[in-house]
Amino acid sequence: MAAPFEVIAAPYDAYVAPLGTAFPALDAAPAVAWKLIGTAGSRNQTDTGVTVTNSQTVGEFTPGGSTVVRKRWRQAEGLTVALSIADMSVVQYANAVDAAVTVVAPGTTQAGESHFEMFRGTQVAAYALLVRGISPFNDAFVAQYEVPSVHQMGSPAPNFSKQNPSELALEWHAYELTIGNLCVFRAQSATHT
């Protein structure tokens, strides 16, 4: 693509990793601990892509002596990352429902298989999330959202038919694990000197 670079029309990849995983430098590929969402990343995403939403609730005070708001304050805020993948691999499906996978190696009397239990109990798994694509400075550069702590809050409902591929709808909600840090958007502007 060419200028204007700030007009971005390209897919972004999403990665999850165990809580506390260091975020990659902009000019480095993610470490192996970062697992692509979708076996082939954006090539498993549906064409609606990745949506990053900043939400907020703002309170207002309109005094009795006026008809106009005199004060506003933020009552709540949040950040969500949503995407759908056409990928029913066991690891991706298990990840979508916060389930642990059991891999059974092949034996002489049984085939190899992987399975997971969908009962989840009260504990909600936490992850680090990385969303990465081209930079608004230059589409040869990288930009990324660095979300240190998220929960998977989507309700995947894959449909099995001959009309469309089965999809997993994912929705990651950030939370404040490190005080004052919800998500950093970082965009590369130049190469190394």
Binding site: D13, P18, A22, V103, G112, R132
Partner: protein, 163 residues
């Protein structure tokens, strides 16, 4: 001959994942970061299957014999600076796997050849999964080992041309 192996799960939240490495034998499930010993025939089965081969790693240390305090010291020795943080290492297995991958990363990075540059016309779209799919990419792909938190892999420089 026997082999000491560690199960390293490929999932992004691996702590509850398990591997039944010998369903014909004692049918034991080993958790992420757990070590187990197999003989040649079972080792061949595990490493011949491309799926399970990616989940096991031959190791020299049986971490299951170590206390949490010993594991934390070993982790510090391997360059992990927060091994006592239970938020990040909630199980002994998660810490064992982190030590093993950090140690392997350190060893292999020392042995890794110098990275080659990529011609601009071959460079993949930065930051996308194209980077991982691109067959022309020369980012020392197999020389950088799996890593728990930390250790980034190098990537080729992006295309020329600045805004």
């Amino acid at each position: 001959m026997s082999h000491l192996l560690m199960f390293i799960s490929s999932s992004p939240h691996p702590y509850g994942d398990g591997l039944v490495y010998d369903p014909d034998g004692d049918d034991v499930t080993v958790l992420h970061g757990g070590t187990f010993t197999v003989q040649d025939d079972r080792y061949d089965v595990l490493t011949a299957d491309p799926y399970t081969a990616g989940l096991v790693q031959e190791v020299s240390t049986d971490y299951s014999q170590m206390t949490r305090a010993e594991l934390e010291q070993a982790a510090r020795d391997a360059g992990i600076d927060n091994p006592d943080d239970w938020e990040y290492y909630p199980t002994d297995g998660s810490l064992s796997a982190a030590i093993e991958t950090a140690s392997t990363a350190s060893t292999q990075q020392q042995a890794a050849p110098q990275q080659q540059e990529v011609a601009p016309e071959q460079a993949p779209i930065p930051g996308s999964s194209d980077q991982q799919d691109a067959p022309s990419q020369t980012q020392a792909p197999q020389t950088v080992p799996p890593a728990e938190p930390g250790a980034d892999q190098p990537t080729p420089p992006p295309q020329e041309g600045v805004q």
